[in-house]
Subunit: 400 residues, 2 copies
């Protein structure tokens, strides 16, 4: 029998033992950087904008000139020039004058506010009437207001999103330091497995885990090296592990992790490295192995795809992220169970659910039926010390 | 002045007018399919599994043979064979007999339940004692229980996730029908703009929208064709639009959309096609254009990147998804405002926020400061008929 470990403890062990080692840094173009994780803080090298910039079409003024003006007593200013888009405006604005500036244009030195065109009246001869006072700073973006030179605007480990791509473009960061993709070896073992490309003979099933784990790895910026299917044979499986381990940062083996005669992974883990955990106090996922070979994390995932899905998500994904300086973004919401679920096996249990607003409908799942995960869009965990959850219970649901 | 349209009405118009036309279908490999959207329902071509499959190591039995057995009166069965992994088991199980089946192995015909090895006792001579009754169906997955032949397991328009990749592999779907990537033309106009790769001269700013919109388009499976920066020149901008429009499904032009002298897009839209909307009742984003050229949707996005970000997200993204049979997955949560926000301009307002658990902290943003979006992780909308929201208000917050 396995001496099972709580999943929280297993995650802590994974991150403590393997999470501190980051992948190397590589420079990629701004286009390639989207979705990757920053390897260094991004420091603004200059003020953005680097001039005082109008946010309206109108007149740059000295706000003091408009003090006390009103509908009945307008302030009268003389138009002394225009700012052109994309050109510096270096002629200082003198008291009593105004300068036309289009949206996005540079204010002249001496101006401290913008007044929208529609709040002025052209009196002819270059004279304009202003009917409302303007506060200093009105309708403009001050130099450095967006980003100040020296400011760490994006931190290492951050996943570069759409707006971040915009921020990097605004800063002129065209070559972006990101963490290299963690290389993850993937292999499936089991005599009953055939590749999805082959027809099934009676008693055979298709290898689901190779393609599923590759997609899961790539979704976290990992680079997958897929070995395919290895037979339930001690030497073959050991050789496949020995072949992969020098090439990868993390190795995922699915199948062969239990305690049966044909379960070779426990012995191989001990022979080639160190067994850290054999057995998790969770359902599904009990026959999980965690070990180390040549300093690399090796996950012996259960052969059944639903268990492999959950254990990857709970244990391996955080490590792939940690190697890129990131942490899983918890996407959990509080929801109400639409019906009771039972659980009485003394292990934590992952339960699939369909989350609809704040209602969570449990999705019945037998271990191994991967399409049940496709039918769900979320999951929750029943604590090990609870025999189940009643209808209407408030639970934390994690989106898939 | 613009005659502004509420954003909900604008979205409805976009989807009604352009959303029904889907991109073509292409076949891609299972690896490439991840993240794409299905163009057809995926129908199970066979039962999965296509045999009755054990979920434990143990004995296949006829449950009737164990009826009434107990610790004091065990049932005695004769072992008549073993199932091998990946091999069919065609010898029918006879009453009074049992067959060893490993986890994942096929039950012999006639067996209707599995009993775990640890609940039996080897009495020698092939005779085994069973101490507990087994319910029909215990510890096994029935043929077709995962997927039944003819069942539509994944629907057209669905984004293929990690588990779906597993489901497709389980079904042997190696060539996946997905919607082609919508082709989206992107260009920025503005005399003050320079590419992010160039040094800034006084009065110039970098073109943020090209890279940001490309990232946003690619995140929705779109394929971006980036024209770069076009000067504020009527003929140049018109020619650029004429060049792009036959090559794309959607055109995004940012800048030049207001009513100023240098704002050429309104005239070009009318000359080359049809202006549908000029002006949205929203802040930021008022100077937005929606039009049609050669049957394609053309968005005139505001030049300021924050406005372009929001209007893309609210109006253009749903169309890119609709062309692939998808709908935006609302990722909204209810949260409490940590402080009051004001809004008194009679337009709906997008307000950036930092969402932490169920608390939303408004992030101050002046139109145009794209780094403020990087500082936020969510946003909410103040309705146009409200002057603001008080501290502690319960609001619907959308994650970015």
């Amino acid at each position: 029998m396995l001496s099972v470990v709580p999943i929280k403890d297993a995650l802590e062990l994974v991150l403590n033992r393997f999470g501190a080692k980051k992948t190397s840094t590589e420079m990629v173009s701004l286009i390639e950087a989207h979705g990757r994780r920053l390897a260094e803080d991004i420091i603004a090298q200059e003020d953005v904008p680097d001039f005082n910039r109008s946010t309206v079409d109108g007149f740059a003024v000295q706000s003091a000139d408009l003090r006390g003006c009103s509908d009945s007593i307008p302030a009268l200013l003389q138009k002394s020039g225009e700012s052109l888009m994309g050109q510096p405006n270096e002629t200082a604005l003198l008291p009593g004058n105004c300068v036309y500036v289009p949206t996005g244009g540079a204010l002249p030195p001496g101006a401290d506010a913008m007044v929208m065109l529609e709040f002025t009246e052209d009196l002819g001869g270059g004279q304009f009437a202003f009917y409302k006072p303007a506060a200093p700073g009105a309708n403009l973006i001050l130099r450095g207001e967006d980003l100040r030179q020296g400011e760490a605007i994006l931190k290492a480990g951050r996943k570069i999103g759409v707006a971040d791509t915009g921020t990097l473009a605004a800063l002129g960061v065209n070559s972006v330091p990101v963490f290299s993709k963690p290389i993850v070896g993937i292999l499936s073992t089991g005599d009953e497995l055939v590749p999805p490309t082959e027809d099934l003979q009676p008693g055979q099933i298709r290898d689901v885990n190779t393609d599923m784990l590759r997609a899961a790895v790539e979704e976290q910026n990992g680079m997958a090296i897929c070995k395919g299917i290895v037979k339930d044979d001690y030497a073959a499986l050991r050789d496949a592990c020995m072949d992969l381990i020098p090439k990868v940062d993390i190795l995922l083996v699915s199948g062969g992790t239990s305690v049966g005669e044909k379960d070779n992974m426990p012995k191989i883990m001990t022979e080639l490295g160190e067994m850290l955990i054999h057995g998790l106090a969770v359902k599904p996922g009990k026959p999980t192995i965690l070990g180390e070979m040549e300093g690399k994390a090796v996950f012996g995932l259960p052969g059944n795809p639903v268990a492999a899905f959950f254990i990857f998500d709970y244990l391996a994904k955080p490590l792939i992220l940690a190697m890129q300086g990131g942490t899983p973004e918890a996407d959990t919401v509080e929801a109400r169970l639409t019906r009771a679920v039972s659980s009485n096996h003394g292990r934590e249990e992952f339960v699939l659910a369909r989350l609809d607003g704040t209602e969570a409908e449990p999705v019945p799942s037998k271990s191994g039926l991967i399409s049940t995960v496709s039918r769900a869009n979320a999951y929750f965990i029943i604590p090990r010390d609870q025999e189940g959850l009643p209808k209407g219970a408030l639970i934390q649901v994690t989106r898939l």
